[in-house]
Symmetry: C2
Subunit: 439 residues, 2 copies
């Protein structure tokens, strides 16, 4: 049994958090490969080490007093080292960093030091081997991950370790230039490590007890999703749910390695399992509710359009020609509606309308803005009759005007269009009927 | 006040029916312009005069004994004439018809004689002027209606009449060649006359008391629709409801002349009013339910398709290239479904699938056949919250599995996809919840 355990910044913000992490890792022998982030905020208003590093590097560029900021960063690490009673020093590392900052060898390098240093501390604390991500995560000349080389390098290097700490977020090009993933990229490192060592599980430890059924800014203390499929996750995340770094899914999904989102501060909570597929019935009929505001609908009417071969294609052509992607195309009889992102559409509105008139000679074109789309997602919906009925009864009850409904053959989601101002109420109403009422 | 009154074949099948028609016309002075069809069936198993005329003409072509059939037709009219105690003879007309049938001057001519002769009888019976449609309904060289010329000819000729009978179904080209509309075309004649004389109302008298909320083959004795807009009518008729001849709508719709569908056998019933728009609230939230079987869905899945500009357009392009029109394109996230007519699609299935694979490289394509689409149509739905909730709760209650939902911005209809075998149950369930329960 091999597990990769990745810890987010808030799980490693100070010595106290490090100790929790240590307890978690030591409680299971299988937790052999650790991917740490840089120390996050210790309290509200605190600054993440990564942000301090950027400031520091930028100060060095302007010949400012970057050493003062570097000292602040160093004190963050020393506070942790002291708190853990380690006999271990980062002095040499900070000397190198100072030189490199002066030499301005790269902003990615600067940002990556948060994870690098935290990895060193973690390795010393756990007595695990430290593996510099620059040696095992490979980027190509254009700064894109080279998955194949990375997989080989990681596999080769880690096969020699009983256990190891691989800092998250960065790697290097063939020539040694340190390169980072986009923000949140430690998730990706953890996933790459899990794939390379063929882990049985990729545990992703954060400060929440898993993915929530819906946005906690809309619904207070929403329920945690026990098990979610990659497919459901992708749908919820597309519709705005904050989840893992998108690129973190692909490597483990391909290998069938489940991800387990856990809470460092509540290690007994089972968290959320992300799996390729499962025969486990979801606890509620729906798995999650996500949504976004800021859509716009273009409603095109033309008598007999259904019998005009090519009508729909031409309409979509107009949007494509203007570089606008569409979200949904619900259609009635003699009417077709195109949902687009308002910000993409607004500046090209007139060209699109003119294009539609030119290409398909509609009877009538009407636009509506300030619309929101809500996705109700769940593998359980397919086998549960009446899901749509419950959704729309609940929305009616909440006085929400349903502008659009789209449910295709996958039956894994229903997309609902409402006015922006009804968005929160609609999400609440759907949450209530499926989770609170639990009918 | 001027009304055009059109009577269908069953309203004029025999003398008894003629008398009902006479009573109707005489009961309102405004019923000044009458458009009769040819005599229809007098009883189950009887043959319509138009069908006899086709047989007779074809028999003449094969040098068969067409005169016997012509005698049968003549006896139909004489039965009516005798039954109405008219001193009036069609001998001369039948002599001309016999000559023309021998000379094989045209199948359209043959078919048109049913209306022509019935118009003569009607004019004699009412004491109205007879206006031969060949003189006032004009077709172009290709056999298409010449609306402009027809409007002028009709307007000029009828402005001189206090009242008149214009037989339905036919007209003539510039050179006098008699030409007919497609079957049911007397509806079109009535509409053209109404437009030309700027009628206040076009009454279309049939053997039913108006349009029914749904198909009487599915729901026993469905309620009659009191008022329906042209738009709603078009939607229901597109989805399979049997209504007026499609071309009958356009002339009067343009002029804002309402159509009133009435029942010759129950003249006190108010029937159905077809109007351009109305502020009259419909009696039920929904105006009508119609549907069709025999659809097929092609479900295309591809990760990240939403961010791929042109994806949807390319998919529709494949269908267009094969000459297949689509009905609906519901979409989720990473999934897009295309609904098409099964009979159109089946023979080109493999080309379409291959085309989709070539053009958009999907992750997955899946097809499902034997699906039905149901349109729930109603102008009242927009202002009534909870319509969708009631529909889908009713369907769940009836154990109907909803495969697809499509509701666009017009909010005048909701399209629902179900399996063929659930079709009747679904229609019944929706009818019951809106009409019988009348909530």
């Amino acid at each position: 049994m091999k597990k990769v355990v990745k810890f987010g910044g808030s799980s490693l913000a100070n010595a106290e958090q490090f100790e929790k992490v240590g307890d978690i890792i030591r409680s299971e022998e299988s937790r052999r490969f650790v991917v740490p982030s840089a120390p996050g905020k210790r309290f509200d208003g605190d600054t993440k080490v990564t942000d301090l590093l950027y400031s520091c590097y930028d100060a060095a560029a302007k010949d400012g007093d970057f050493e003062k900021i570097l000292e602040e960063i160093k004190s963050r690490y020393n506070e942790i080292i002291k708190g853990l009673s380690l006999t271990f020093s980062l002095d040499e590392d900070f000397q190198v960093i100072k030189e490199n900052f002066k030499a301005q060898i790269g902003r990615d390098y600067a940002a990556s030091r948060g994870e690098y240093l935290n990895g060193k501390v973690m390795a010393a604390y756990l007595g695990y081997e430290f593996v510099d991500a620059a040696d095992v995560i490979r980027f190509d000349k254009n700064g894109n991950l080279d998955s194949e080389k990375t997989d080989k390098l990681l596999g080769k290097r880690l096969s020699k370790c009983e256990n190891a700490v691989v800092p998250g977020f960065y790697g290097a090009k063939e020539d040694g230039t340190v390169t980072t993933f986009s923000r949140g990229g430690s998730d990706v490192t953890g996933s790459l490590v899990a794939k390379a060592i063929k882990a049985d599980m990729y545990e992703n430890w954060t400060d929440v007890s898993g993915f929530l059924v819906t946005d906690p800014r809309i619904v207070k203390d929403p329920a945690v999703i026990e098990t979610i499929t990659y497919r459901e996750l992708r749908e919820l995340s597309y519709m705005g749910a904050t989840v893992l770094h998108e690129d973190a899914i692909f490597p483990v999904r391909k290998e069938g390695i489940p991800i387990n989102i856990r809470n460092t501060n509540r290690p007994d909570d089972k968290g959320t399992f992300i799996v390729e597929s499962t025969c486990r019935k979801p606890k509620y009929t729906i798995t999650g509710i996500a949504g976004k505001k800021g859509f716009c609908s273009i409603n095109i009417e033309k008598s007999m359009m259904n019998s005009e071969i090519g009508f729909g294609r031409k309409v979509l052509q107009v949007f494509e020609d203007q570089g606008i992607s569409f979200e949904h195309v619900p259609s009635g009889i003699d009417t077709m509606t195109v949902y687009v992102h308002q910000d993409e559409f607004e500046e090209k509105e007139q060209q699109v309308i003119a294009g539609i008139h030119r290409l398909v000679q509609p009877d009538f074109v009407e636009m509506e803005s300030d619309l929101a789309l809500i996705a109700v997602v769940g593998r359980g919906m397919k086998s549960t009759r009446g899901t749509a009925g419950r959704i729309f009864s609940a929305l009616a009850h909440a006085n929400v005007n349903v502008k659009m409904i789209d449910q295709g053959s996958s039956e894994l989601n229903i997309i609902i269009g409402v006015e922006n101002r009804d968005f929160e109420n609609a999400v609440k109403a759907i949450y209530d009927i499926f989770v609170l009422t639990q009918m």
